[in-house]
């Protein structure tokens, strides 16, 4: 753990220059934490052998152990225990050194990553630039994947190992978020993985990483067992053995914690928060998540599929295309009441599409105040004094209390005269239909560690050639916003980049490109005696769980 080189090197984090020496701080703090952890672990190990076992109830199934196969949260969560990335994300969403100790731009389109020296894979071999290059190439070779990691490697047009501990990556155009992309690609051992198929990862044979844990066993749909990697470069974990139990239904997951079958669970059902808070046997940890919940609103001028007059006849003109109507809808929502009641405290009213603290968050934007009278006035101005008919769509069981959010918002809309109906659908149907533009107003939750990324995908003008607006269901389009986002993405200077991102956000949200509702809280509950920092990206990392 060497101090980063000075001079031309600057450490890049999600917050860019605002925390130039975060890396050093991180090292220091980590070391102290580790000492404490080791001490505590030692104590516990003396008192009871089982104390070094940790059982965690996960809310989603791990579908594959291949770290490059499917880009979904549960898989990434697990892979993070076995593998490292060049750039790591700290609990607050900031980028910190991982297998790369530092990175810098050589020129506008070339990035250089310095590798940590002396890092050992689980099989004892040492990490070199070869493994990194191999790992960056591998996602593109997994053509059978429906959700590949190629989104994070596609900007790289060329890569080379300058020496065994230095890697250079080249992009076609200036590209600021590359380090963020590098936080998503797990570095595997070339030796173990080069001839391995996905099956070999699932059996554990090819599961050779540098992470804090080694693979022990995997019972699909039931549990994954890991054991400690004593050679971990970041210090030994407090846990000899970690068992992840997969309990997707929320009530049984909580029951498992209450019954003592697991030590800790993620995604605590909101219904039980109050009870757990009051129970001295358990500790609750909450953290604002990166996930923002908002409405996509169909902004096409012509007829919208679920907008009708009050009698149910389709309207030829789409009222939602009028910014005043969208503002009225936003004012009609009592976000505070919803956070308190529908979300039972697990939400922070939102004004942005990224959470506070995330790169690109614009704190100049204020949460729209609850103002039903103002909303009615705006509706009248827009020519709908009596409102109109509308159906809200949402997924069931994708985001925290999603089905209830839709219903509560329907309540609010009804009060300003918009006759609102609700339809919630299973994900399988929902995403396909939403993507096909079959809804008028549809709920989406989005988590990202960079505001410009989010804007590009959510409100950028949809264009298959540039890959913009892939999740822009409302088909909002503003060339000014597009231009600003483009400037942000191509800025390798992170301060400038964030500036553009904030401007773009302000512009888009002033026009209610989407109607933000809230940032959800991620939650963890654990037996007393454990502590977890809580992660903005909602992941549950055993190595960050500490005995108190």
């Amino acid at each position: 753990m060497r101090k980063p080189e000075s001079g031309a090197t600057y450490i890049i984090t999600g917050f860019g220059a605002r925390a130039p020496h975060i890396s050093g701080n991180f090292m220091h703090k980590t070391a102290r934490n580790l000492r404490i952890a080791l001490f505590a672990a030692g104590l516990l190990a003396m008192s009871a052998a089982a104390a070094a076992d940790l059982k965690i109830g996960l809310s989603a199934d791990v579908s594959s152990l291949d770290p490059h196969y499917l880009n979904i949260a549960p898989n990434i969560n697990l892979s993070s225990h076995l593998f490292d990335t060049l750039v790591l994300v700290d609990p607050n969403g900031k980028l910190v050194p991982g297998l790369a100790t530092s990175w810098r731009t050589v020129d506008d389109t070339t990035w250089e990553f310095k590798l940590r020296r002396g890092v050992k894979f689980h099989d004892g071999s040492e990490l070199t630039a070869d493994d990194v290059l191999f790992s960056l190439e591998r996602p593109a070779t997994l053509t059978a994947s429906p959700g590949p990691f190629t989104s994070y490697t596609r900007q790289i047009v060329d890569k080379k190992a300058v020496d065994p501990y230095t890697v250079q990556l080249k992009t076609a155009t200036p590209y600021g978020p590359l380090p963020l992309d590098m936080s998503s690609i797990f570095i595997v051992s070339k030796k173990a993985a080069q001839n391995a198929a996905t099956e070999d990862f699932n059996s554990g044979r090819a599961l050779v990483g540098t992470g804090p844990f080694k693979f022990a066993s995997f019972a699909r749909g039931d549990r994954v067992v890991l054991t400690r990697n004593d050679q971990y470069w970041g210090g030994k974990s407090a846990w000899d053995k970690v068992t992840f139990r997969i309990i997707t239904a929320s009530a049984p997951r909580l029951a498992a914690l209450l019954a003592g079958d697991v030590d800790m669970i993620e995604t605590v059902p909101t219904a039980d928060l109050a009870k757990l808070k009051a129970d001295a046997k358990f500790t609750l940890e909450q953290k604002i998540s990166w996930r923002t919940i908002f409405w996509h609103v169909d902004q096409q001028a012509h007829r919208s599929p679920f907008v009708t007059d009050k009698a149910g006849k389709p309207l030829d003109k789409n009222p939602l295309a009028d910014v005043r109507v969208r503002q009225a809808m936003s004012k009609a929502i009592d976000r505070k009441a919803m956070a308190a009641r529908t979300m039972e405290g697990l939400a922070l009213p939102a004004s942005n599409i990224v959470s506070p603290g995330i790169f690109g968050y614009n704190d100049a934007l204020k949460v729209e105040a609850y103002d039903p009278d103002g909303a009615k006035k705006l509706l009248a101005e827009a020519g709908y004094p009596d409102g109109f008919g509308l159906t809200l769509h949402g997924p069931n069981n994708r985001y925290i209390n999603d089905e209830r959010i839709v219903q509560t918002v329907a309540q609010f809309f009804s009060r300003i005269g918009i006759q609102t109906k609700v339809q919630t659908l299973p994900l399988s149907v929902y995403f396909s239909k939403a993507r096909a533009g079959e809804f008028s107003v549809a709920l989406l939750g989005w988590g990202t560690l960079a505001g410009d990324f989010g804007l590009r995908t959510l409100v950028g003008t949809p264009n298959p050639d540039t890959g913009w607006g892939t999740w822009n269901w409302g088909r909002y389009s503003n060339p000014q916003v597009d231009a600003l986002v483009k400037s942000a993405l191509s800025s390798v200077d992170q301060v400038k980049r964030e500036g553009y991102a904030k401007q773009a956000a302000a512009l888009a949200l002033k026009e209610e490109a989407v109607i933000p509702l809230h940032h959800q809280y991620a939650s963890w509950a654990m037996r007393r005696g454990l502590s977890y920092p809580g992660r903005v990206d909602e992941f549950t990392f055993a190595h960050q769980v500490r005995p108190q």
Binding site: S250, A271, T424
Partner: protein, 297 residues
Amino acid sequence: MTVATSDTPLARFLHAYFSSRIAVIATLVLLLLTLAAICAPLIAPQNPYDLTKLDIMDSRLEPGKVSSDGKLVYLMGTDEQGRDMLSAILYGLRISIAVGFASTAAALAIGLALGMVAGYAGGRIESLIMRVADIQLSFPPILIALVLLALSGPGVGKIIIALIAVQWAYYARTARSAALVERGKEYMEAAAGLGLSPLRIVLRHLLPNCLPPLIVIAALQVASAISLEATLSFLGLGLPVTEPSLGLLISNGFQYLLSGTYWISFYPGLALLLTVAAINLVADQLRDVLNPRLQGI
């Protein structure tokens, strides 16, 4: 019962039927529940489907609490949307019972028609209908409904279709075997000999004789349709959230069970239990009375 002395078949049936105290109670409970379901809009304190009537600030109130505008006492508490549970249960009962009865009635009609046609016509038509029915009966109802709903998406109409698809074969098979028995009897030949039209023979002669076992099966099927609907709703494949049936109410309240907010799940559960148990008991008694030899479930 007062009808005990007269001696029409109906009177005999009624007398036998009401000789069991449990059956009397079950029938009364069922009538009461059905009445409550039919009159739900009249007797419910709130229209739980009217979003303007709900107030999120009243969410998860305990039974007996007063609404924030002071106008309403929530006898069975409120759910997470601030919906009066009593009203929601009454409306939910309405949907559950409607779904149960509608799907059974439709399945009965379809199954009866196909079964009679099979039994009466015989030959290739018979073997085709019965082959399909047999194949379908070899699969558990929940599996068929699950696949159909997964493929069609949720909705009242779709769940009714799924429940019809699950049930029709029972009736078809029963109707056919009853028709076969009747077909062999002399009066059928006589009727045919008299030149009566096949339709008339089926309606006037076959139908009445097929009915008793079918009524019993139908009664049992109403109960199982209601609980199947509840189960499918629990799996997220049933009805839309805004117009919850009993099963959906239970599954909405499911995650509150451990936290002590029991009423969201408990009262609908009780209503469902009462409804299904009452129907089952009625069906049980019907079987005993209509056809003592009809065995099994």
